[in-house]
Symmetry: C2
Subunit: 702 residues, 2 copies
């Protein structure tokens, strides 16, 4: 591993995003998602299922207060099992002092505070900050004196804390708490929540570790691995780094820790826990498996640790897992997790379009993973995938009004199938208001709010632009402050302008590293860069020289492009996708009428681009030609059409003698994939992968 290739994140308070695409999303998050989620957390949205998140913290807080008051006289409750989700209507728990919701419900607060923190950085807001402080007070009041902070066990009985790492989510909740706390500290300088997270981390460090007297377990749902690295980076406390390293190293070693919690059946398979990525020690893992969100969260933590420890064996595993995802298990939208069974990766090349899981959170996790790989080595392949996921499988998770969300992002959706076929019941034909298991909306909020973190990294004298997100970024070179100003037309056009200004208006020597997007297939056009030494490495154009306010323009050609999957992807046989720049396109009944599955696209006829505002944001839609069956040709039954003569009734209308279809031309309108299902709740169908392979001679009216 070459440490010289490392680069660092830019602190968000050095970034001011002003982007034609992302600023609007950030504003949606600020104005819609964050306030709405706060109401959700407090069970104040009548049409949504109660979250019980703040309720649980309040209950735990009252218990802690009582405990402080009573001292030794306080009687701890002994453990009551409440199941994975517990509700007021469950038998035997009618109490206002009960824990409700999912076992991981605490994490909803943490995701919210993280999103709120990012919003406060970009857009100071005393009212939001006051609300956040109030929430933090409630949360911190629930913390036990030993640092423990998970309301499920605080309320239901601490005697069973840390005894079901496999299925319960204490370490997951801790991870989100730490991430939220770090963000809020970075946003406001206030350290109350950070200290609480550290105290919880200290307790976990006392409880888990290599020392045989300690617990040898690790999280059932990963995130603590990367959260502890963040906590280490902000506090400098090495124990946190070592704790993360311990979790990573122990994972998947034999005897399986989870077997201790749940002794396996006699005929249990020798290799198991794929779902938890705990089937093998992480350094031996080569194939991305199991629950997709958990997987990419783990891989992100592994990449962090590889960089922190300069651990080549860990980086090698990360590389293998990255390749496994992007070369065998990723949809063209950047969606991952092909099966709803376990919300998991399927086997290589199994990428069904209609039963895809492709959870918004999983693609977000893929961005986390990509960003961490980029920090180790700036190679555009990571940033290309990051961009692909962002503009497709991630942003499709949110409606254009910021009020409804997809958990699952299929590449084909037929509302009738979603309604009637239990195998597709996870696929929703329209975005939903909120979820009981509300991971995706707040995950989207925290990602969008920190988009600058993924867009750029830096080394002493180098500034990397991985994603062309417009804005101003402050950087210090040799003690001098410089501002990098970026304008970007992406994703709708490939025009990008970058300038570097110094505060003292004198030239500064540095390198700008511009990613050459994978989708830019013709040579890019560069202007204003004549004075700089140009070189290309790993997909980045390096411009080395003295900067003094010059504007460098790069135009990346962005023309519609037809993409085909590798022939091993059976579900895409005879089909293609259409992209323009980083944006994947799809077709809706709203534009193209019924029976979309009968249409064949004719890529050879070219595409016409059209700007539109009909989705409430600027967007480019495509027109192209396709073929559709000329009419419902009256067909011959398999009984052979002698029916009148032979006076017999028909055998079946389901099958008939094949006659090559007669086709007619049809104009098709394709819209960006991420904008599908944004035009009301009308019945529509959405394919992203189109049939092709009909040629001219088959068309009757060419």
């Amino acid at each position: 591993m070459d440490e010289k290739s490392f680069s660092r994140e830019i602190e968000l308070n050095r970034i001011c995003v002003k982007d034609g695409f992302w600023t609007e999303k950030m504003e949606l998050v600020r104005k819609e998602v964050i306030p709405y989620q706060w109401e959700i957390l407090n069970d104040r949205v009548p049409e949504a299922a109660p979250s019980y998140c703040m309720h649980n913290f309040r209950v735990a807080g009252r218990m802690m207060e009582e405990k402080r008051k009573k001292g030794e006289a306080y009687k701890e409750p002994t453990y009551t099992f409440r199941g994975f989700e517990s509700l007021p209507e469950d038998p035997g728990h009618p109490d206002e002092n009960s824990f409700y919701g999912f076992v991981f419900q605490d994490s909803d607060f943490s995701k919210w505070i993280e999103a709120a923190a990012y919003s406060l950085i970009a857009h100071p807001d005393p009212e939001l900050e006051a609300t956040a402080d109030e929430a933090i007070d409630i949360v911190c009041a629930a913390q036990r004196e030993n640092g423990y902070l998970d309301t499920y066990y605080i309320i239901n009985g601490m005697d069973k804390a840390f005894t079901n790492l496999r299925d319960h989510h204490e370490l997951y909740c801790f991870g989100h708490l730490a991430e939220g706390a770090v963000a809020y500290y970075q946003a406001t300088g206030k350290d109350k929540l950070l200290k609480a997270a550290c105290r919880f981390a200290d307790l976990i460090d006392d409880t888990f570790g290599k020392d045989k007297k300690k617990c040898q377990g690790y999280p059932g749902h990963e995130i603590a691995e990367m959260a502890l690295v963040k906590l280490y980076e902000v506090t400098g406390e090495k124990r946190y780094l070592e704790l993360s390293s311990f979790f990573i190293d122990m994972r998947g070693t034999k005897p399986y820790y989870f077997d201790k919690e749940f002794p396996p059946a006699k005929d249990a398979p020798k290799i198991r826990y794929h779902y938890h990525q705990a089937h093998l020690p992480v350094r031996q893992q080569k194939e991305a498996t199991g629950h997709a969100v958990r997987a990419v969260y783990l891989y992100s933590g592994m990449a962090d640790m590889a960089r922190m420890k300069k651990d080549d064996s860990l980086l090698k595993a990360c590389e293998a897992l990255w390749n496994s995802i992007v070369n065998e298990k990723m949809y063209i939208t950047g969606g991952i997790g092909a099966t709803r069974l376990g919300e998991a990766f399927s086997y290589p090349y199994d990428l069904p379009n209609d039963t895809a899981y492709a959870e918004t959170c999983a693609s977000i996790g893929l961005v986390f993973f990509a960003q961490r790989m980029l920090k180790i080595k700036p190679e555009s392949r990571f940033a290309d995938i990051m961009e692909l996921a962002l503009f497709n499988g991630i942003i499709s998770g949110m409606s254009t009004d910021g009020k409804a969300f997809f958990y699952v992002n299929p590449l084909e959706s037929d509302p009738e199938a979603c309604r009637l076929d239990e195998r597709k019941s996870h696929v929703k034909p329209v975005r939903q208001k909120w979820f009981g298991c509300a991971c995706c909306p707040p995950n989207l909020a925290r990602l969008i709010g920190s988009i600058g973190r993924y867009a750029y990294t830096e080394r002493e004298d180098t500034f990397f632009i991985h994603l062309y997100v417009g804005g101003d970024i402050r950087k210090t070179i040799d003690g001098r402050e410089v501002t990098i100003h970026i304008e970007s037309g992406i994703p709708w056009n490939g025009l990008v302008r970058v300038s570097v200004k110094t505060a003292d208006e004198k030239p500064v020597h540095m390198k700008l590293a511009l990613r050459i997007p994978a989708w830019c297939r013709e040579q890019m056009r560069l202007e204003g860069a004549e004075a700089f030494t140009q070189s290309v490495k790993d997909g980045y154009l390096y411009l080395d020289g003295d900067y003094n306010g010059e504007t460098i323009s790069a135009e990346f050609s962005m023309s519609p492009c037809v993409i085909e999957a590798k022939d091993t992807v059976k579900e895409d046989e005879g089909k293609v996708a259409v992209m323009r720049g980083p944006v994947v396109y799809c077709m809706e009944e709203a534009d193209n009428g019924k029976n979309l599955h009968r249409i064949r696209i004719r890529p050879e006829k070219g595409f016409r681009e059209e700007k539109t505002e009909e989705f409430g944001i600027p967007a480019v839609v495509l027109e192209c030609y396709g073929l559709q069956p000329q009419q419902n040709t009256p067909f011959r039954m398999i009984s052979g059409g002698r029916d009148e003569k032979s006076q017999r009734t028909m055998v079946t209308s389901l099958y008939h003698i094949y006659e090559p279809e007669k086709y007619e031309n049809k104009k098709l309108r394709l819209i960006p994939y991420f904008l599908w299902a944004n035009r009301g709740e009308n019945i529509f169908s959405m394919p992203t992968i189109f049939y092709v392979l009909i040629n001219d001679c088959m068309a009757s009216s060419t």
Copy 2:
């Protein structure tokens, strides 16, 4: 309903099957399936999971003996819940006197005795008969004095008998018992088992009925409906007919009976019990729904009852349900049940090829249904479907050596997917030895053993040939005995010969009704029928006249034919099937190499037929032309192929820029669908539905 159109089954002892196809299958059943199953029933097959079927009868028999001995002093066990399947290793039941196996395990005996009975008719065998008598003694010894005979409750506690009709299978076990008992009585004249079945029926009749003091329930798993009709037909006891009628009439009425057993949740849907076909009163049912086997068993009972009671409203429902199946929910193989979730019908036109359930038993039930419709009105559409199911989705359930079985009959099978994709784990790439839930093998055995029952029916002066099964059938006309002699080349050629001889060698006036198969697309060639009055009605050729030993030859043209599904079947878009006569063809890797999903078939190039013995039976395979991708064309990555120049690593090898494929001709070999997976356990892939729609201009080497 026109009673004059009714026809009757031929008793099996009047039929002697001598058929080029079916005789061999009957011999397999006699020599392999029946003896093997007897060993299974007695837990004497080391490599198969124990059945516990006879074990349970023996345990119950010992209890009854003890009860008889002790009289009033005998203490009945009170009910112990044992779950849907109970095993010796379950906690708390280590006793030799426990019930083991599925709750419906008793029915395995009944299916076996039915198959044994048919075998004894066709092939008397004192040893088998002695074994059967011995088995009957064991079973009858288990019967309670009040007639009750279900070992699950006899052993586990009678106090809960008939309290879980929805999920437990007492009435199902009764139904199979009655069917087995009727068959054994017809085969041997011995009535011990028949009397036991009648006593159980009497008890059920005392327990269930319109009288408000009686139970208003009905079977959770149907079969008793048709079994009671059989019992009525053989005993003349009208109460049995009325009991069946009661079950049919009560089904689906509100309040739902099953709600009484299991009070529904507050938010339960208003219409439910689709799975059990109990969502609506049966006369209001128009769409085939729920568990496919249960459904067709019910519909068969309904058709029986429609005929018995001349009930037009019931017949109308049967017609609607028949049409729902064959016009919206049936695979080209006659397979039904498109989803493994509930082993059930999916919604109309949802017929996925690779995740099909298409249980062997469901297609067998479709044959039951078809035969009952035929008895009401001889229309060839019913017999066509019967034949389609028999030669494809049913007979595929058994290996050519009679030793292994498919439960699920998919139209596409990829062993890797079966192994790695939980969504396809129900699809087995090779036939299995035996199943814990062993419905399909014995169901096949009893169907094959009684094939003559489905092949022919009669009226006073008319003899119907629905299926061309070769053999001699005795019939009485005006007190005179005539023998109908049939020779048939079906399914491999369309040549059929029929002659009618009288014992007294004098002419007899009668009508032969020959089904004109749906697959016979050119006019059939008829010879030797000049002396008869010919007419065609509902797909049957009626030959009316004086018969005196003439041989009538009919040749039904049988050429390969390409079939397409209705365009509403999305899963078959751009695909076709190939049939020859009633046989559907498929393609295996064993003949055609890997990557079958990349091959396009070229039906316009025609087919070459070839006789083969390689499967151990005579068969016809087809050769035809297809196209395959010329080679793995080196493709351009989505990064645009500038990789060497730009020194960057590849983004993904999963997607690349589309270029129309170059194809080359390839000879394809298609084999009968039902013969797939018969050539060893080598890894292969099997599609039945082929890609088409590539025309000449796309082929490079035409």
